[in-house]
Amino acid sequence: MIPLPPDIALAQQVVLGDPARLTNRPAPVWDPARMALLADLSRTLLAMPAARALPDVVTFAYWARAAHLKALSREAAHPDPPRVGLGLVFHICPSNVPVNVAFSMAFGLLAGNTGVLRLPSADSPTITALVDGLAAVLARPEHAALAEALLLVRYARNDAVNAVWSARADGRVVWGGDATVQHMRGFPMPPRAREVSFPDRYSLCSLKAEAVLALDDAGLEALCGQLYADVYIMEQAACSSPQLIAWVGDAETVTQAQARLWPAFAAHVKGRHPLAPIRAMDKFVAACDSALAEDVRAVHRHGNTLYRVDLAGLRPEQESCRGYAGTLHEVVLDSLDALAPIVTDRYQTLTTFGHPRDDLARFVTAHGLRGIDRVVPVGQALDMGVIWDGYDIIGSLSRVIDIR
């Protein structure tokens, strides 16, 4: 049991769990009981109509199914010596990507920890579905023992609550970007405690023009579907959502590839993606703003579905150049190597299409890049792994016991 001062207990709203029962006793990593809980959650969510309607929840549910968790545990690089959790992990969950509440919780549990999760203060269908699913699963007798390993709370901006949970945490997971990470650093944790934090990142996509031109119609449609998943499911709000499309090829080939891909892509998106009116306005205002920059040659508008900001070249501070809800910046390069000078430690995910694997491997190793933690095929930008943002998350949230 973790005692809380009464005023703190009042300041937070308990969404799920019981603070009085909470434990900080660690469990082994990849504990079968915890994998069973997540697998059950996966089945439960997929059976809930409200959850099935949410692409992000469905993505998590597929990730958490039994077979996939088993595969992940086999791939994990820590079978022996034994690893156990740190104890209690305090999670600051992001509101821009609500489904990461579920991933953060799952990583913490699988690493053998108790999780105290601060949910985003704004309600969302995703959070509601996840909490409902989790409540149903935890109510089952076979998972009763795990009730002491989870607490979901919600509180308005309140540094006293942040301080109390930080002081009791053996680990802290902070989502939400630079400002939040810096803010949370102000709350001391016990000396042995660790932190896994996710500051602002920038992600991009590189398409090889000749490979796009070589596609048949079915292949083009498949590429559109993959780009759609990367760009629109999170409306480019996730750190791994591509902001920049870096075409590789000569100017003429790229022009032809653009003429082939973008109308097909806009048609693919239209009707699939429900754009909120305020997003459409935000997007239009941002497009007007960006037109004022000299290196912007045009803002191609495919209705309001897709905006493409045609850049004359890469910017020195390309990473500050983001788009929302379907605004892609576009640049034409001779080769991948041209990207190297702009890559800073902000760069996270490079999604690619049509590049030979050797080119990619050489690119990420040959230039002494301080960034780019993931290189994945188009369509997998949002696929959450146990390796994320350069962290082995399960490893980071657990400790090794050296037995000789």
């Binding site: 970007g177 939040t180 306005m281 007007c288 004022l292 803002v299």
Partner: protein, 364 residues
């Protein structure tokens, strides 16, 4: 055949205020929109960049009002947009914006400023006659006295004050009604028409509600109320136009009540409510409705974003603006009040969802 972009032979201020309809209104507005689009493209580099880079029609390709390029109203909160040299700016207007956001900046030269006054005078004359009237402001003096708190309210009161004389503020600085001062003013001007001006939510809360609560009345049967600005932070207290008129009539006897719709970005060419209860575009403005998601034009009777056209803005590129207000065109040239032109209804504003981004864990 592209038309000449020179100034029209007949000054726009000679146009009949509510007498233009059908093709005549459309053609005159279209010619002005072409001329202004050409003017701002030539005189305002940022405007030109937006129009050209976003693929809007330039003046030679504008075949209908729907083709006129439009800027989002919000852009004036983000960029300094001028179509005259800085030295020609005689006045900068600002708007308060919603809840602490940045303010619009609107730069006026002499000509644009004069055109605002002329057009507003013509529209006001339709409801109050050509002469200045004794004016009762439903607000407090502090609203205009404190220049550091310059707001949409300040601008509105000062702007409309040019149609009044012997101005009296009905409210004390703590926003309570001062019945003694108000009655003395009304006694002094007994038997005359009185111009009454205030913001909708202030008139409702601090005049109507206050009189109701005090079980008092004022004798304002010769009053002409001009009110605008909507309900702002008092959205929960909002009442329908009919109930608003009834409430006013019950406590003041005032039946000449005119709501107006307008924005600082198109000051002058306001939309005034007629006796039949409909907002009207005057000769100098026009309204289009656009789909809130894809911005395609919508026919009368459908609800969407308000796109405002005005012939006034010359010193800044504000002749065609996409607002964040929601409403519909109810009809054209068909109002029971006899006015020609477009009548419209405002239903509210775009809902502002939370700003998504990577740094917003604590934003909400």
């Amino acid at each position: 055949m592209p038309e000449s972009h020179d100034r029209p032979a007949e000054p726009v201020t000679d146009w009949p205020c509510f007498g233009l309809g059908g093709a005549e209104k459309r053609d005159r507005m279209l010619a002005e929109m072409r001329r202004l689009t050409a003017h701002h493209r030539a005189a305002c580099a940022p405007y030109r960049a937006i129009v050209d880079k976003l693929g809007f029609a330039n003046e030679d390709r504008i075949a209908a009002l729907e083709d006129v390029p439009f800027l989002p109203v919000r852009l004036f909160k983000r960029q300094r947009l001028l179509s005259v040299p800085e030295a020609d700016v005689v006045k900068t207007m600002t708007s308060s914006g919603t809840s602490g956001q940045s303010r619009s900046q609107i730069f006026l030269d002499k000509a644009t400023s004069a055109l605002q006054v002329k057009v507003l005078s013509r529209i006001m004359a339709e409801v109050m006659g050509p002469k200045r009237l004794p004016m009762l402001v439903i607000d407090c003096r502090a609203t205009v006295a404190d220049r550091y708190r310059f707001s949409a309210r300040t601008a509105g009161i000062l702007g409309f004050s040019m149609f009044g004389r012997d101005v009296c503020y009905a409210l004390d600085d703590d926003m309570t009604l001062n019945p003694e001062r108000t009655r003395a003013f009304l006694d002094k001007h007994a038997g005359q028409d009185i111009l009454v001006f205030g913001f909708t939510f202030i008139v409702w809360r601090h005049l109507v509600r206050a009189l109701e609560a005090a079980r008092e009345t004022l004798h304002l049967d010769r009053g002409i109320l001009i009110h605008g600005g909507g309900w702002k932070q008092l959205q929960a207290e909002a009442v329908a136009p009919d109930a608003f008129r009834r409430g006013i009539a019950d406590v003041t006897g005032m039946t000449r009540v005119h709501n107006y719709y307008g924005m600082v970005e198109q000051t002058g060419s306001i939309f005034m409510e007629c006796a039949a209860g409909f907002l009207h575009a005057s000769a100098w403005s026009e309204i289009l409705i656009r789909d809130p998601v894809d911005f395609t034009p919508l026919p009368p009777g459908e609800t969407g974003l308000i796109h405002l056209l005005s012939v006034i803005p010359h010193s800044y590129p504000g002749h065609s603006l996409l607002s964040e207000d929601i409403g519909q065109v109810l009809g054209r040239d068909d109002c029971p009040c006899g006015r020609m032109g477009t009548r419209l209804r405002i239903d509210g504003r775009l809902e502002h969802a939370e700003i998504r981004g990577c740094s917003d864990t604590f934003a909400a």
